[in-house]
Symmetry: C2
Subunit: 225 residues, 2 copies
């Protein structure tokens, strides 16, 4: 099996034969990017995974409030796009080259063809880990960039859902959205005053889900897509 010269040198340097079989190695494609080029675009269909072999890149997402959250800096031999591989149809983040960069591209078809019935537990675990990673990144972006009002609204919409109530204690919610019990207590009081929420014996009951969605500042409708 003869790889192209450029690909072969990276495969040797990074020991990629240790993780890729011959079919996958033969399917690698060399991609070059200039500084500032988009390597993948948030929202595009998931069609490949990329191994960074030269240069540096960054993954980020923009929020509705105009702010940006930077998820990761990449260097060789980081992987781009593996989080969405088994868990999503769309890339969750944009990745941009910070220097000129080189990646080896491996198409999703090749990876999925190699995911045999013997590997179904690992495929499942990959899918769960990928979902956890993207969900956690989304939640933390909100927790870092929005007020506690918006964060509580988002948390309630996600966890109360259709049943309209939520058993978690305020201390646990504060630790989950990353604020103090005191500030959460203020916001719960404000929501109670506006008729959005009641707390009945340790349970938060949603009285006005529409108002929560407004407070969530369009974040909720985006998340549900």
């Amino acid at each position: 099996m003869a790889l192209k010269e450029g690909i072969a040198q990276y495969v040797r340097r990074f020991g990629l034969a240790d993780m890729l079989d011959e079919t996958a190695l033969a399917a690698l494609r060399l991609m070059r990017y200039g500084k500032g080029d988009l390597i993948i675009r948030s929202g595009d269909d998931v069609d490949a995974v990329l191994f960074v072999v030269e240069g540096e890149a960054k993954a980020y997402n923009s929020l509705d409030n105009g702010q940006r959250v930077l998820a990761a800096f990449y260097q060789p031999l980081d992987i781009i796009g593996e989080a969405e591989l088994f868990s999503s149809q769309r890339y969750a983040l944009s990745v941009e080259a910070m220097t000129s960069a080189v990646c080896l591209r491996l198409g999703v078809d090749t990876i999925l063809a190699g995911a045999k019935p013997d590997c179904r537990l690992l495929s499942y675990i990959c899918g769960r880990l990928g979902s956890k990673l993207t969900d956690r990144f989304k939640a933390d972006s909100i927790n870092l960039r929005y007020t506690v009002e918006t964060r509580l609204a988002m948390y309630l919409l996600a966890s109360a859902g259709d049943k309209g109530f939520c058993h978690a204690g305020l201390g646990d919610i504060a630790d989950f959205i990353g604020c103090s019990y005191r500030q959460l207590s203020r916001v719960v009081r404000a929501f109670r005053g506006k008729g959005i929420l009641d707390n009945i014996r340790g349970t938060l009951v949603v009285r006005d889900g529409g108002a929560l969605e407004l407070l969530a500042d369009d974040l909720y409708t985006h998340t549900k897509q």
Copy 2:
């Protein structure tokens, strides 16, 4: 193949035969927990993965400043412990039952025995995803719970490392640690005034790594374990 009655009913209810082969199914063990019981303890050796089949649980970690960060709420059919499966020797979080709960336990030996050479790419991807998840959780815990000073110190210790400098622009660093450019600029100025940092033509140069470690408030030494 005859599973125990209790296990068989959960396997049927959740379709676990779709992801587990007969060897793995035979290795499942039923675990019962009371409310408040520790299901896994942060720092313990990774010896199993658990499928939640009844009840609810929460994963959390405590920080050196006495605050706590809650990583996830679990319900059926969430998995506990899979993030550390291929990426760590130790569980990164403690998981506690919030109600009485039932889990199906699958020992790591069984999973690793099933991870054949055909599956080595998936194993590798699982390992990378698991690392990303635990690393990202750690970074975000710090970003949610510590001042920008500590966050910048931690970021610099991680990214400048032994080479003592760091090319990322201040805008990107602000987006990565989740603060405004203005506040980051204040902190950089303060560090410059204390002789800890210089910025030379877009590069941050560390002048006093020891001072950074002190500012990192013992977080750095913990992370390096």
